[in-house]
Symmetry: C2
Subunit: 476 residues, 2 copies
């Protein structure tokens, strides 16, 4: 395709995107397709002849769009917000259009240096000290795998250089809680620790936060049994109920035993743009690594996950290789981000953050985050004030965990499996209708519903509409 053909098609595509974004509120939130429906609508054989751009766009409209769950929809309250602000989309388009390659500083100096600058801007905007050095990963899952490998190598005295983990003889142990995101257990497994060396530490039953006393006991027991405490993953905004582990108390314990402390703030990191929220990760300065996702609530389009460490030397010792074909005269004077993570090649992702922060400005982002916190509090108050409804966890930020418990004809409250069935029924009816979307989830073995507030276009009006819908549906 020539640049002139691209120009014509590109203009058409920009109009299509602008129109698409405007019609999202009219689309069903959850895709209304059956498993396999999109796949069956596409040819099983690869194309032989090239087709026109308008043919591709027609298929995009007719075959692809119906198969998209609209996470930018103002009635989307599922999982966590996955905002794709249009300012950041422009940065992503610029990055794609330029077709740069990041495999070393030399392969695109600007890619490396803009990444250094925007990671440092976000360090400052979230109130972290200058001891932290950041890079962009695809997701917090990958950042956590990296953190677990860093923990493993510190605790095993760089076993990767001799003998590997299998030569260690003693088990390495990682500590987290049952509330932690599924990626934590996955990271522990992928890094080779073994799932039975992941300890799920007791939580405070009220706010689901890790109990520092229980953590200290578990570490003591492991040490007594000859095991090596290697890592702690502290959740700041855990997925289920946005639980906030007490970072400060945990950091004291971690440093006593020289255990790598990773703070998983994938969701709540965005809130640290607000000075009034920073008490939620009080103590973070004593951690070893922190990850959070601007591609969630803050709204820089996926994939934009930040990973900060204090000890860059350890990071580079663990993650670096130095092949001859990538050496250049600039070595030693520049950052080689290939030595800060798993992949060698990287996109110019920093442009997404650069465009987003400059075009929207931090104040507008902060105002939106505060709006969402207010809206979540408003919904929580409605729930608390209404008979039959229950708020299941403190609303620390923007996730509201609820359950509705009806009474049967005899006036007895529904319980057990029947209550689970009621919960799953009403939430699935709403989700299936396309009118709104929320995530059912388990808490203490029973189903509840998570309402995650924070889509860029979600206003109080949408929350009010949701609350009405909830009350209608549970009464059906």
């Amino acid at each position: 395709m020539t640049p002139e053909e691209f120009r014509r098609a590109g203009h058409e595509l920009i109009d299509w995107i602008a129109d698409y974004r405007q019609r999202i509120p009219d689309l069903p939130v959850r895709a209304q397709v059956e498993p396999g429906q999109v796949r069956r609508s596409l040819p099983a054989l690869p194309p032989e002849e090239p087709v026109s751009f308008s043919a591709v766009m027609a298929d995009l409209d007719q075959l692809i769009v119906p198969g998209v769950t609209q996470v930018q929809h103002p009635m989307h309250f599922g999982w966590f917000p996955s905002n794709a602000s249009l300012a950041s989309v422009l940065g992503d388009i610029a990055s794609s259009g330029m077709g740069t390659l990041g495999i070393s500083w030399e392969s695109c100096p600007a890619l490396t240096e803009v990444e250094e600058v925007v990671c440092d801007w976000l360090r400052q905007l979230t109130g972290l000290s200058e001891h932290w050095h950041g890079t962009i990963h695809d997701t917090a899952s990958t950042a956590c795998v990296t953190a677990m490998i860093l923990a493993r190598e510190r605790a095993s005295d760089m076993s990767k250089n001799q003998g590997g983990l299998q030569a260690l003889g003693k088990p390495l142990v990682v500590y987290s809680t049952s509330q932690a995101h599924s990626s934590i257990a996955k990271a522990v497994q992928l890094a080779g620790f073994g799932n039975d060396n992941l300890r799920l530490i007791e939580e405070d039953p009220k706010d689901r936060a890790m109990s520092p006393a229980a953590l200290a006991r578990a570490i003591k027991d492991d040490l007594a049994a000859g095991r090596i405490p290697a890592g702690i993953v502290c959740s700041v905004g855990a997925t289920g109920t946005t639980a906030m582990d007490p970072v400060e108390d945990i950091a004291i314990i971690a440093s006593q035993h020289n255990i790598w402390l990773h703070v998983d703030a994938a969701m709540a990191g965005s809130a640290m743009l607000l000075p009034e929220c920073r008490h939620l990760w009080q103590g973070v300065e004593q951690a070893d690594s922190v990850a959070w996702n601007p591609h969630k609530w803050m709204g820089t389009i996926l994939d934009t996950a930040l990973f900060y460490v204090r000890d860059v030397e350890h990071l580079e010792r663990v993650m670096s290789t130095n092949p001859a074909y990538l050496r250049s005269t600039a070595d030693g004077q520049v950052t080689q981000y290939r030595d800060w993570g798993i992949p060698l090649g990287r996109r110019f992702r920093a442009l997404k953050l650069w465009f987003h922060l400059r075009l929207d400005g931090p104040d507008a982002i902060r105002a939106r985050l505060r709006r969402d916190i207010d809206n979540a509090q408003w919904l929580a108050r409605q729930i608390e004030a209404t008979a039959g409804w229950e708020l299941l966890a403190p609303v620390a930020l923007q996730t509201v965990c609820i359950r509705h418990t009806p009474k049967d004809a005899a006036g007895n409250a529904l319980a057990g499996d029947a209550l689970d069935q009621h919960t799953l029924n009403w939430v699935e009816r709403i989700n299936a209708s396309g009118a709104a979307f929320m995530s059912p989830s388990l808490l203490d073995g029973r189903w509840m519903v998570r309402i995650s507030v924070g889509v860029e276009d979600s206003t109080r009006e949408h929350l009010a509409r949701l609350w009405e819908l909830l009350q209608q549906e549970v009464a059906r």
Copy 2:
């Protein structure tokens, strides 16, 4: 930013990209900036007030573009081609604009199912049997880490579920060669094997391919010493000289000992679109995993790496978690790509391949690959026919490895460190000038120059210009 503001800015950006692509031939290939120059040109403090789109675009032009090494430049012969075909850029823009989220089938059914379709199209286009199932990773490096974890878990009987790697007692061993990409050693280290459990098997001195006899001996020795052979990484187009390990002979050995065989065809996978090249990975059907990068020679914009496995059950056993908040009624009927790799969240990367294959069509891509193979052969013939020049390895595809050896006043050929200095001098002079770019690399401890043919806009004329430049520069 509103959709209407996006529309206006987007049109401007599309024109900027079309113009930019047209002026690439007039830009220096290697960025002409000093370390730190781009960073120092940007504010150290984060923005406070939003700025206009035109202010951002002016900075993009004046501050960022000079810091970009132009890998789309027709005189770029460095590393490997990193083509970003404009058809695939359109797919990437569509993906960004839609702002989808891939964390489960339910979060975007089309994202999952188009990925299934395009991975299968490329399976067919490269002549793989229907026993292979593919997914898109960011890079072949990440695919290799995944393959090494799959190897580890097979050889350790799923140690991730109990005890971890450290409970194993016996060392696990991986086999590759000195020619393998640096990501292989990194993957072995990250997966926890320990670098001294990576055996670099002897190569055939002529074509730098792994010696199957030497491999068989090494495995026998390790077994005799009580070690467990776990993985073999076979390079199809290794980075230094595009060496082709003999997959078929290696696969026979791997299957005898039930060793996981990963085929790293990051570069050469594109060539498998050409039936006449498929003998280069003869035997691939007996491997366990294969990775290759459409984002290299084939030209679907970064990041698009394909990872195929035959045993999907093992893949999912190793990589899956199943948290409550991601369960849906579609479970069991659909593919959950989160269980096929490291990250949970994924972009709609399949659209890049879908647009690229449909808009350009496989025939045009094949014609370009054949043009590049011809051009590389042409250059190799010039080198071989010219006194003072030496071709250092067979040109299996599109990489030409060369050295120039001048004679001193007494008629003696330069050798040793003086020859290294000569090589580094002439290549650095050309690279620094911005007229062309090639990668110096080490072969048997001595510097050579890799000329990697294959940029989309590189024609015979550019090769001829390069050959002239080479002859001029070595004579200076």
